[in-house]
C-alpha cells in the first residue's frame, strides 16, 4: 500500500504529540499533579498550534553548528587578548552585572522550563518548553565561558553564583525568577515565555548586545546574534501560549490578565538595571533608556502586541502608565542607587564625565540637569573615609518588599520626592517603591512576606563571615560573606583601572 501524503504539520504532530497517550493504570492527575490548582481550564490540548517545528535531530545539528561558530570566535578572542581592545575597562562593569545577575537566571530558566516540560499535561507545548530548557542551559554555559576569560584579568567575575545567592542588588533578579519558578506551570509560562521573552527581551538583550558591539566585546556580541534564533523560538512560544490559554476558556482571561499585570511590573522593575547600564555604564552609548523604552515598549508592545490582544479581552498591563511617566527618571534613579552603594557591590561605578553628562542632558532634557546633575557635582566634593574620593551612602537602605530595589524612585508627579508606599499585613509594615509593587504584594501577601530581603538579613545577623567586632566591622564582615574582594568602590581607584592603564601604556595608539 502506498504511503499517504502528510503535510509537514501532520508529520510534526506524529513526531511529537502523537507519542502521548491517555494513561489507564493510574489517573492522569497523579502524573500531572500541578496542572489544575492555578484555575486554568484547558478544554482541548489538541487545539495547540506548534509555534515552530523542531525535531531532536534537527536541534542537535543546528545547535552544534551555532556553538561551533561561537566557540571558534571566543577562542580567537582569547588567543588575541581581545579584552585589551575593548573601548575601556569601564565597559566590563555592565558585563559583570550581566554575569552576576542574568546568567544565573538563564540557569533558573533552564530548570523552570524543565518543570513545565515535565508538568504541563499538553504534549504540544511540552515539546517547545523542553527545547527552551535546553536553550537556556546553552545560554548559561556560553555566558560563563565568555565570562571566564574576563575573570582571568578583571574583578567582579570570580564568584557569580555565590554572589547571586547573597549580594543585595542581585536579590532583584534572583527574587524575580524565584517568584516565577515557585508559581504553577501556567503562571510560569505566562511570566517567562510571554511577559519576559515576548514583551521584555528586546529591551534587555538589544542594548546589551549592541552595547557589546559598540564597545569591542566580540564574544558577547557573537553570543547575542547566535542566541537570536533561540530567542525567536522563545518569543513565538510565549505569544502562542498566551493566545492558546485565552482561547481555551473564558475563565482563563481574568487569570491571565492578572498575571500579565503582575509580570509586566515585575519585569519592568528588573529591566531598570539595564536602564542604568545603558545610560551610565557603557563607555560608548547605543541609545538612551528612554529611546529604547519608547521603541520597544510604547511602539512595539503597547501599540502592537496589546492592540492585537484586545480581541481576547486583554487590556494593557496595570501601571503601564506609571512606567511611561517614569521613563525620564528611571535610569537616573537606579544608577544613583548603584553609585551610592558601590562600596558593597561587585562592580565599579563612577561619576559621569562632563561629556557624558552633556549626553544625558541632551537625552533627558526635562530631568537630568534639573534633578540629577547636582547630585554628581556634590558627590565630587563629598569626602568619606572610603576609597574613591567621592560620595558613598554609608548605611543600609530600605528595600522594596517586592522588587527589592532600594526605595529611591522619584515620583514623576512630584520630582523632589521619592515614592513610598506601605501596607500593614498581619501586624507588620511592608514598604514598597511603587504602586505596582504594592499591588503585587496585595495580590499574594503570603508569598511576598517570605522574601529574603538582604538588608533585613544583615540586621538579623545572617550575612556575616564572622561576627563583627564592632560597628565598623559590620560592612567588612558582610563583604567577606559576599566574597567581595577588590571588586567594589569607584572605578578610578580600582585594580581594573590600574591594570588597564598598565597594559596600555606600551601600546602605540593608531588612529585610523
Amino acid at each position: 500500500m502506498a504511503k499517504k501524503k502528510l503535510t509537514l504539520a501532520q508529520k510534526y504532530h506524529i513526531y511529537t504529540r502523537g507519542l502521548d497517550w491517555e494513561p489507564t493504570y493510574v489517573s492522569k492527575k497523579d502524573i500531572y499533579p500541578y496542572a489544575e490548582y492555578e484555575g486554568i481550564k484547558i478544554k482541548d490540548w489538541n487545539k495547540w498550534e506548534d509555534p515552530f517545528r523542531m525535531t531532536v535531530e534537527a536541534y542537535w545539528k543546528y545547535q552544534a553548528e551555532k556553538d561551533r561558530r561561537f566557540y571558534a570566535i571566543l577562542d580567537g578572542f582569547i588567543q588575541n587578548q581581545g579584552h585589551l581592545t575593548l573601548s575601556d575597562a569601564r565597559y566590563l562593569n555592565s558585563i559583570k552585572l550581566f554575569i552576576q545577575g542574568v546568567t544565573p537566571l538563564e540557569y533558573m530558566a533552564h530548570r523552570g522550563f524543565a518543570f513545565v516540560a515535565r508538568h504541563l499535561p499538553g504534549p504540544g507545548p511540552r515539546t517547545a518548553a523542553f527545547f527552551q530548557s535546553m536553550d537556556e542551559l546553552r545560554h548559561t554555559q556560553i555566558e560563563v565561558h565568555a565570562g571566564s576569560n574576563f575573570n582571568k584579568y578583571y574583578d567582579g567575575f570570580h564568584s557569580m553564583t555565590l554572589m547571586h545567592d547573597r549580594v543585595w542588588y542581585l536579590s532583584v533578579p534572583k527574587s524575580y525568577f524565584d517568584d516565577a519558578v515557585t508559581a504553577g506551570p501556567f503562571e510560569y509560562v505566562t511570566a517567562i515565555s510571554f511577559s519576559f521573552e515576548y514583551a521584555l527581551t528586546n529591551l534587555l538583550f538589544v542594548p546589551f548586545m549592541s552595547g557589546a558591539a559598540y564597545n569591542g566585546d566580540t564574544p558577547t556580541m557573537t553570543f547575542g546574534f547566535s542566541a537570536q534564533s533561540d530567542e525567536s523560538r522563545h518569543m513565538t512560544l510565549g505569544l502562542q501560549v498566551v493566545k492558546f490559554l485565552l482561547e481555551q476558556h473564558e475563565d482563563n482571561v481574568p487569570i491571565i490578565q492578572r498575571w500579565i499585570d503582575k509580570w509586566w511590573w515585575r519585569g519592568y522593575r528588573l529591566t531598570s538595571l539595564v536602564g542604568a547600564m545603558m545610560d551610565y555604564m557603557l563607555p560608548k552609548r547605543v541609545m538612551s533608556w528612554k529611546e529604547s523604552f519608547e521603541l520597544y515598549i510604547e511602539d512595539q508592545i503597547l501599540e502592537g502586541l496589546f492592540r492585537d490582544l484586545e480581541r481576547y479581552g486583554i487590556r494593557p498591563p496595570l501601571h503601564m502608565e506609571q512606567s511611561i511617566k517614569e521613563k525620564e527618571f528611571l535610569s537616573h534613579d537606579v544608577y544613583w542607587i548603584l553609585f551610592s552603594f558601590t562600596f558593597a557591590a561587585a562592580f565599579h561605578s563612577w561619576i559621569p564625565k562632563e561629556e557624558e553628562m552633556e549626553w544625558l542632558a541632551e537625552k533627558y532634557p526635562r530631568t537630568f540637569n534639573q534633578y540629577y546633575r547636582w547630585r554628581y557635582e556634590k558627590a565630587k566634593q563629598a569626602k568619606t573615609p572610603l576609597p574613591g574620593d567621592r560620595f558613598y551612602y554609608i548605611g543600609l537602605p530600605q528595600l522594596c518588599q517586592v522588587c527589592q530595589i532600594p526605595m529611591g524612585f522619584t515620583d514623576p508627579d512630584d520630582p523632589n520626592n521619592f515614592v513610598q508606599r506601605y501596607v500593614e499585613y498581619e501586624g507588620e509594615i511592608y514598604h514598597f517603591c511603587s504602586d505596582g509593587c504594592k499591588w503585587i504584594f496585595e495580590q499574594e501577601p503570603e508569598k511576598y512576606v517570605q522574601a529574603w530581603l538582604p538588608v533585613h538579613e544583615i540586621y538579623k545577623g545572617n550575612c556575616f563571615a564572622e561576627p563583627p567586632k564592632g560597628p565598623d566591622d559590620v560592612v567588612p564582615q558582610v563583604l567577606k560573606w559576599y566574597n567581595i574582594q577588590t571588586d567594589n568602590f569607584d572605578y578610578f581607584v580600582s585594580e581594573d583601572y590600574k591594570n588597564w592603564k598598565e597594559w596600555h601604556k606600551d601600546m602605540a595608539t593608531v588612529v585610523v
Partner: protein, 342 residues
C-alpha cells in the same frame, strides 16, 4: 574615525586562573570548560519564596530524593558533556543515521523487509516510541528536581536522547510499508491493548507518578533501560537476522550505543551514591530495596515478549534470550556491588 590599539606581543599575567569557587575546589589551576559549565552553577541558598505547587520544599532541595550526597559535585559526568559537546557529539552520531537512511532508500531496503517480519517488527518495535517518550518525561523531571548541575545536566541530555529515540523510531516507521493501515495508530493500539505491552505500560505509568528523582532513575535507567535495550536491540535483532532481516541492525546498534553512553553517567552516579562517606549506607538500602522491586517488575513485564519470539518463521528461544538479558542486568548490578535478586 576610530581609535585602535596596536597590541604588542607581550604576555599579560592573569590575575586568576579560574573562578574562585573552582580554585577553592581544585586548587590553583585553570578549569576545563566542562567544569566551568557545571560545577556550583545551580543556586544553593536564600531562596525567596517556597513553591506554591508543593509544600515543605525549597526551589532546589536535597529532599526531593531519599538519595543524598555529602557533596553533590563529587559526581561528575565521565563523558564531560556540557551543552556544546553534547550537541556536537549527537549531531555527529546522527550523521551516520542520515547516511544509513539514504542508503536504505537507494537500495529500497525498507520495502524489501519481508512481510512476515514486518508484522513482528510492527508489534514489538514501533510501540516502543511511547516507552521512549515516557522516558523523556521522566528524565526531564530528574533534570528539574535533581540536585546539582552535574546530575541534572546529565538527566537533561538523557531526556533529549530519549525524545530523540522516540522520534527516530517514528522516522523509521515513516519509511515502512503499511499493509495493515496507519502504522502509528496500530502501534498506539498495540501499546494500549496488546498483552505484550501491558505490564510494561503499567510499570511506566506508575513510575510517572513517582516524585522522588532518585527512585525515577532507579526505575528508568537501572531497570527499564537495562532490560529492554538488550532484549530489543540485541536479542530481537538477532532473531531478525536469523529470519533474514538485517535492515534494522544498524538502528539497533545506534540505540544500544545510546543506551551504553547513558549508562556511563548512570553507573558513575550510582557508584558515587553508594560510596558516599555519610550517606552511602542509606543510599545503598534505598537503592537495593527499590531496585529489587523495579528489576523484579520489569523482568516479569518482559516475559510477555515470549510471544514475539514465537511469531516469525524461524522461531526464537525466549528462555535463552531472557537468560542473556538477566545476565546483562546481573553484570550491571554486580559491577555496582548491589545485591539484587533477579
Amino acid at each position: 574615525m576610530s581609535v585602535q590599539y596596536e597590541i604588542k606581543q607581550k604576555v599579560i599575567e592573569p590575575k586568576r586562573l579560574a573562578f574562585d569557587y573552582l580554585l577553592k575546589r581544585y586548587g590553583n589551576r585553570p578549569a576545563s570548560r566542562y567544569e566551568e559549565a557545571t560545577v556550583d552553577i545551580q543556586q544553593r541558598e536564600n531562596f525567596h519564596y517556597r513553591p506554591t505547587w508543593r509544600e515543605g520544599v525549597e526551589i532546589f532541595d536535597v529532599n526531593y530524593s531519599e538519595l543524598k550526597l555529602t557533596d553533590y559535585y563529587s559526581f561528575l559526568d565521565p563523558r564531560q558533556y556540557y551543552y556544546y559537546t553534547y550537541n556536537a557529539t549527537r549531531a555527529k552520531n546522527y550523521e551516520a543515521v542520515d547516511k544509513y537512511f539514504e542508503f536504505c532508500e537507494e537500495r529500497g531496503l525498507f520495502e524489501k523487509v519481508n512481510e512476515d517480519w514486518l508484522k513482528v517488527f510492527n508489534r514489538y518495535f514501533i510501540p516502543l516510541r511511547h516507552l521512549e517518550y515516557a522516558g523523556w518525561i521522566l528524565l526531564v523531571g530528574v533534570a528539574r528536581f535533581g540536585y546539582g548541575t552535574s546530575i541534572t545536566q546529565c538527566a537533561e541530555f538523557n531526556a533529549c536522547d530519549k525524545y530523540g529515540n522516540a522520534q527516530l523510531i517514528t522516522r523509521i516507521a515513516f519509511e515502512l510499508p503499511e499493509p495493515d493501515g496507519d502504522i502509528f495508530e496500530n502501534a498506539k493500539k498495540t501499546w494500549l491493548e496488546d498483552k505484550i505491552f501491558q505490564p510494561l505500560r503499567e510499570y511506566v505509568e506508575k513510575l510517572l507518578t513517582i516524585q522522588d528523582w532518585g527512585e525515577v532513575l532507579i526505575g528508568q535507567n537501572l531497570a527499564i533501560d537495562v532490560f529492554v535495550n538488550p532484549l530489543v536491540h540485541i536479542e530481537l535483532d538477532n532473531l531478525a537476522v536469523e529470519n533474514g532481516v538485517t535492515t534494522f541492525s544498524f538502528f539497533s546498534k545506534y540505540f544500544y550505543d545510546m543506551y551504553k553512553d547513558n549508562m556511563r553517567w548512570t553507573e558513575k552516579l550510582f557508584e558515587v551514591l553508594l560510596s558516599d562517606p555519610n550517606y552511602g549506607e542509606n543510599n545503598r538500602k534505598f537503592i537495593e530495596s527499590k531496585l529489587n522491586y523495579y528489576a523484579g517488575q520489569i523482568s516479569k513485564a518482559i516475559d510477555e515478549f515470549a510471544d514475539v519470539f514465537k511469531m516469525p518463521k524461524k522461531k526464537g528461544d525466549f528462555k535463552k534470550a531472557k537468560e542473556n538479558v538477566l545476565n546483562h542486568a546481573r553484570e550491571v548490578y554486580g559491577k555496582l556491588g548491589l545485591n539484587i535478586k533477579i
